[in-house]
């Protein structure tokens, strides 16, 4: 014992003192390692480290070579060499010594020797052969540890050729009494199976024995083998399903010894392994799947503890359930489980949840819909891995409708990511999603009309590829897949050029798709040949593709058959192609040299002087042939004969593609030409009867400036989803459904809303319509409101009277028409809508011109202070004819009670009369909905006598017409000269008159009590009233302005984005304690602004036009006044808002 203490003490100084000499032979080698490590820690530069290690290595080299070094010293030297190797410095001189150490050392030294060997060498290293004998010897050793070491090194690496030498010994170990040996032997055999499967084929029975081993550890080890073998050939091991199920049942049921528990979960890793095996076995196999439902259910139920490892089991369970033949009950549970994962605050579980969703979503898109908001959140997650996984998920749910948004998201991520791998992966995906699909659409739509260089450049792009080969492969594979599915559909509908592209791509790249037999492709292509309207040019493309593909006996017979059928074709080119096909199919070697694979981008050398024919020519000449005459010389001779057309050669040779000169036409241009109709081409082929693409849900993706704003898809999608029950003939039902479908929109905070919008644009087109749209209900644009008439009456007798009386009320009309902004443009627009009325109208305009100015002034001046309502102002004017004033007033209140129930709660303007006759009163008001502006027209029977004809009389009928946002007409009539939203809205209104007219016509059809000519005049009246009201763009703001709820940050980014700005000083209100707050409050209340933030003496305010452009206002208290700075994308908007701010503050 004293010796021990002494040695310890002698060792201490060397460890404690920093200046110990590494070369000193007396120090123990451990301290040498210590010194080495300490030396490295103290170093500051990589260069010094290199020097130190090189010195160390040379010292090691010297010592290992010395014959005096004992095995024990050798062991320490090896550890140092291992350390140096780990740092990346080669110590190849020590390899042979490591083998020697493993060979000759005692158990302890042998272990280090084996370790060094397994770290230094690899399977193909030549020195490894020297180890075989050692391994053989150790395998036969009686020392268990030596056997274990040998098995370990064998499973790490063993020369493939030497396996037969030790195989019997390893096999023997399968029956070894010690379980640890059996276990390691199983794994060693697994390794053999991996590197040389044919050599262990004969011992499959022994694997089965290992599976039934009494020791669970051995059984677990054997599962590695089975997992691998079942992955390769699930059919071969179906008989084992019952065994695996039984094992899992026992494990789950806690039948294993407690030793196997980990955090009181029974053998979790074993469970995971078994679940994986079961999912492989049950895939696409109902009867096998049925055997495992019970145990899967049990596993799900048991794995409820809140520990990491139970989640691992749950995850495998869920994956299995979705892989095997589905069972509704289990799917439901699994879906719930996925939900827990996705919603979990633990980020690892979230990640797995997303992975599971990605896996599942192809089968059950609804699951993604359930979690769409979580997915959106994950899209903005700070962890890039989560983000990427989310994109992967989105990639799987991409369809024609959401492709834009998803690609946009991917590109966004691409900009952020600097990781090469991610970039390559994503770029490939974007290209896949976007490029091929879009080009498919381009080809199917553009068809034969497009210039030939478009398909040419597309093919060139495909063949030249991008920077990475893997990406190219993916892209081509995707193209092949999509084309095969197109051909399997209805290729007859496809344009010729597209067919040519398809056949070229298939000819070149269909070999990329594993499992796609060339014969299958050939048959698909051959189908094209038989179609009536395939042009002969296309046919030669097809035939050329076929000659590239024909391989194997199937193809030869097919080629034979084709050559018989088409060999007699009148078209010489075609005949030649068929012959080529036949010959090439018979001679594989020739084909390989003529049409080598992937050779599309190799430059072709064309011998334009045809010098290779020189011999032939001279031979022919000497044989008496006539010498060649140039064409112009022949021209005269052949004047009456028909010349052969030599043209098709140029086009029918796809290989010439790469040499084709191409116009400067790059793919983005192509894409924009198509205006991005991203219809899924696969869909197209399934659409059956119609040749036209279904354009529902297809949106404009490209504008002049690139991508169109993201908002549009949202609106579009909402519109797409809204069914139009209003147009359906069933009136009552229609009215009811309208009512039920437009609940008052629940107010949601703005960021939330944004997410929802994003969600609805991302998840559009998934699942069933009703569940698609998260916010569809609240987004719905109310089309029209209609009440069913109580009774019906036909008034043929009264019609003339009414129409006459209508014209007698011109004084009212004049007021409305009298507007200096009712310019010729509007008139002509009206003319379009009601051509027969135009002369009349212009007359009216002409007659009223005289009084116009004065009354216009009146409108401006009498704009009442207490009410910003425009119509109110008008009503003051219309009150001029005293005859109408009195009856109108009380009507206002009584009419408002007749507003449709849907609108009753909303703020509406004062109801003003439009026109009236003896029998009829027409009044209108506008109603401000949150997302729309509605015009409501009241039609009322004012007389007591004609009750029958009007149908009830007492109760006014009313019709609601959306003014803004309006239908497709508005967007269609947006002129080039009108940029910005205000003019657009203006146009919307004027064109809306058309809509209005139709709606009144409908009203008429429904109620059948108004004569048509009166209706027309009514429409005109209302229309002109509308125009006169709304073309005052500044006033329009009061009706269409809405608060814009943004956060301060969003405000900041918006502010920078806008170009139009206006500055002005406004009066500051001084009545409150805080002038700024008081002033802003007044503005907020009067003008529907949103006060974003008030910081000290500054405030920021935002508003927007109804479904339109925003306007931002920055206010600062400066020298007793309010300095405001407005910005907006629309030029007129800041001025307009400024004007109203001034008004509002003055009035206050």
């Amino acid at each position: 014992m004293s010796d021990v203490v002494e040695k310890t003490l002698t060792a201490l100084p060397s460890l404690l003192s920093l200046d110990s000499q590494p070369g000193s032979g007396k120090l123990s080698s451990t301290s040498k390692l210590g010194n080495l490590i300490r030396g490295i820690t103290e170093l500051t530069s990589k260069h010094e480290e290199e020097k130190l290690i090189q010195r160390e290595l040379s010292s090691i080299k010297e010592q290992v070579a010395s014959p005096n070094t004992s095995m024990r010293q050798m062991k320490e030297l090896m550890v140092r060499a291992i350390y140096c190797e780990m740092l990346g410095y080669e110590a190849s001189f020590s390899y042979i010594h490591a083998i020697k150490l493993a060979q000759q050392g005692t158990v302890l030294e042998k272990r280090v020797g084996y370790l060094a060997v397994s770290l230094f060498l690899n399977e193909s290293h030549e020195l490894l052969l020297l180890l075989v004998n050692t391994v053989l010897k150790d395998l036969q050793s009686t020392n268990l540890i030596e056997v274990c070491m040998a098995l370990t090194v064998v499973s790490q690496m063993f020369p493939k050729d030497m396996i037969p030498a030790i195989l019997p010994l390893v096999e023997e170990k399968l029956t070894h009494p010690k379980e640890i040996i059996r276990r390691k032997a199983v794994l060693a055999l697994y390794k053999f199976y991996l590197i040389a499967p044919n050599q262990v084929q004969h011992i499959h029975n022994k694997f089965r024995k290992a599976l039934c081993d009494k020791d669970p550890g051995v059984m677990t080890a054997s599962l590695h083998i089975y997992l691998q073998m079942i992955k390769e050939n699930p059919e071969g091991y179906k008989d084992l399903t019952a065994s695996f199920v039984t094992i899992l049942k026992q494990v789950v049921g806690g039948k294993l010894p407690m030793d196997f528990n980990y955090h009181s979960v029974p053998a979790p890793w074993l469970q995971i392994q078994l679940l994986r095996i079961l999912s492989l076995l049950g895939k696409d196999d109902q009867s096998t799947s049925e055997m495992m439902y019970e145990v899967l259910d049990e596993s799900l139920r048991r794995a409820e503890m809140n520990h990491n490892i139970t989640y691992a089991i749950l995850y495998e369970c869920v994956k299995s359930i979705y892989t095997i033949h589905p069972k509704a009950e289990l799917l439901e549970k699994a879906a719930k489980c996925i939900g827990n994962f996705v919603l979990s605050p633990k980020i690892n579980l979230k990640y797995l949840g997303l992975k599971a969703l990605t896996y599942v979503v192809q089968q059950d898109a609804n699951l993604a819909l359930q979690h769409q908001l979580t997915i959106i959140e994950c899209l903005d997650h700070s962890d890039l891995v989560i983000k990427r996984e989310t994109l992967e998920l989105l990639f799987r749910i991409t369809n024609a409708q959401n492709v834009t948004v998803i690609v946009e998201k991917m590109l966004e991520f691409l900009r952020l990511s600097k990781d090469d791998y991610t970039t390559i992966d994503l770029v490939g995906k974007v290209a896949e999603l976007w490029f091929i699909e879009t080009m498919n659409t381009v080809f199917s739509l553009g068809g034969d009309m497009m210039q030939p260089d478009i398909p040419n450049s597309f093919l060139r792009l495909l063949s030249e590829g991008f920077d990475s080969t893997e990406e190219d492969r993916q892209l081509r594979l995707f193209a092949v897949d999509s084309y095969v599915s197109l051909l399997q559909g209805e290729p007859g509908r496809l344009p010729q050029r597209f067919l040519q592209v398809i056949s070229w791509v298939l000819g070149e790249y269909s070999h990329l798709r594993e499992g796609l037999e060339p014969a299958t492709t050939l048959r698909l292509l051959a189908k094209l040949l038989d179609m009536k309207h395939t042009s002969s040019e296309t046919k030669s493309w097809v035939l050329l593709a076929m000659s590239k593909l024909c391989e194997g006996p199937d193809c030869v017979s097919l080629a034979q058959e084709l050559s018989e059928r088409h060999g007699g074709s009148l078209d010489t080119v075609l005949r030649q192609r068929v012959q080529e096909l036949r010959h090439l199919s018979e001679d594989a070697e020739l084909r390989a040299s003529v049409l080598p694979r992937d050779a599309a981008q190799e430059p072709l050398e064309v011998d334009s002087s045809l010098s290779f024919l020189d011999g032939f020519v001279s031979e022919a000449l000497s044989a008496g042939a006539a010498p060649y005459k140039p064409p112009h010389q022949r021209q005269e001779e052949l004047a009456q004969a028909k010349a052969l057309s030599l043209e098709p050669y140029g086009l029918s040779l796809p290989i010439s593609m790469s040499s084709c000169s191409l116009a400067d036409r790059q793919s983005p241009t192509l894409l924009s030409m198509s205006s991005g109709l991203s219809g899924n081409s696969t869909d197209l082929s399934h659409k059956g009867g119609s040749t036209t693409l279904k354009l529902d849900g297809v949106k404009r993706v490209w504008g002049k400036d690139g991508y169109l704003a993201q908002k549009e898809p949202v609106e579009e999608s909402a519109q797409v989803e809204v069914p139009s029950p209003l147009c359906s003939p069933s009136r009552q039902g229609g009215a009811d459904s309208t009512h039920s479908q437009t609940p008052t929109p629940t107010p949601t905070p703005e960021p939330e809303k944004e997410k929802q919008q994003l969600a609805s644009s991302l998840f559009v087109g998934l699942g069933s319509q009703s569940s698609v749209c998260l916010m569809g209900k609240s987004e719905q644009t109310p089309q029209r409101f209609r009440r069913k008439a109580k009774g019906q009456g036909s008034s043929s007798g009264a019609s003339e009277q009414i129409s006459n009386s209508h014209y007698s009320t011109q004084s009212t009309v004049d007021n409305l028409l009298c507007n200096n902004l009712l310019d010729s443009t509007v008139t002509s627009d009206l003319a379009v809508s009601t051509p027969e009325q135009t002369p009349q109208l212009s007359q009216e305009v002409a007659t009223t011109n005289g009084t116009c100015d004065a009354e216009q002034d009146l409108i401006e001046e009498t704009d009442p202070g207490n009410s910003p309502s425009l119509i109110r102002a008008n009503s003051t004017v219309t009150a001029d004819p005293p005859a109408h004033k009195d009856p109108d007033r009380p009507k206002d209140s009584c009419l408002s009670s007749h507003l449709p129930a849907e609108l009753a709660g909303l703020s509406h303007s004062e109801i003003i009369p439009l026109c009236s006759s003896q029998n009829l009163d027409l009044s209108a008001c506008h109603v401000q909905k949150e997302d729309a502006l509605l015009l409501v027209i009241f039609i009322e029977n004012s007389s007591d006598s004609d009750i029958e004809q009007i149908g009830g009389g007492e109760k006014p009928q009313c019709v609601g017409v959306p003014v803004f946002p309006d239908g497709e007409e508005a967007s269609g009539s947006r002129g080039a000269g009108w940029d910005g939203v205000l003019p657009a809205a203006f146009w919307g209104i004027s064109s809306h008159a058309v809509l209005l007219q139709t709606s009144i016509n409908q009203f008429h059809q429904v109620h059948c009590f108004l004569p048509s000519d009166l209706l027309l005049s009514m429409a005109l009246l209302t229309q002109s009233m509308l125009v006169s009201c709304f073309c005052l763009t500044s006033l329009l703001f009061l009706c269409l302005g809405r608060p814009l709820c943004v956060s301060t940050e969003e405000y900041g980014t918006l502010w920078l984005a806008f170009s139009q700005d206006t500055k002005q000083n406004l009066a500051l209100l001084n009545d409150g304690q805080d002038p700024l707050t008081a002033t802003l409050d007044v503005l907020k209340n009067k003008l529907q602004l949103h006060v974003v933030d008030i910081i000290g003496a500054e405030g920021i305010v935002a508003c927007r036009l109804l479904q339109g452009q925003p306007c931002l206002m920055h206010c600062r208290v400066h020298a007793g006044s309010l300095a405001v700075w407005l910005r907006s994308p629309v030029p007129d908007l800041p001025d307009c808002l400024l004007y109203h701010c001034q008004r509002a503050l003055q009035e206050h």
Binding site: K7, L15, V79, I145, T152, S155, P257, A312, D383, V385
Partner: protein
Amino acid sequence: MIKAILIFNNHGKPRLSKFYEHYSEDTEQQIIRETFHLVSKRDENVCNFLEGGMLIGGSDNKLIYRHYATLYFVFCVDSSESELGILDLIQVFVETLDKCFENVCELDLIFHVDKVHNILAEMVMGGMVLETNMNEIITQVDAQNKMEKSEAGIAGAPARAVSAVKNMNLPEMPRNINIGDISIKVPNLPSFK
């Protein structure tokens, strides 16, 4: 299958590297560097899985890592391994190291690379998980150590003494690996064999 097991410290210095597939020396170093680069820039509160990495086999593979005080434990696995399963395997590995070295620290890994390799060899063999039970691993390692002791006898004493004083020696080195929030209670049960 597990492709590689890497341990490096916060500065990217490798403490253990074990590859179950053959890569050239240069590639191995590059993998270590790249893995460190990927792993070290990740926050503590993000997920423990990383996908891709150009070097170690592409899209099928992922990195599963845990960070303990000064050390990163990274397992590089292919798709046939369960992510959470491997995550807990790392935990088992670290706990086993902790048991074997009695409060394991970075220094133990440096000075006893061979022992760490031996422990690892009892857990993972040729890329396959061999044993996940900590007690079983320790039993195996102990059996070998016993032999080592009996063989090394008195000559091994200095080494043992060194390990007793090593912590005084380099005080700037961190002492303990934090095992994290999970503390395992190993049930004292009779062996089932």
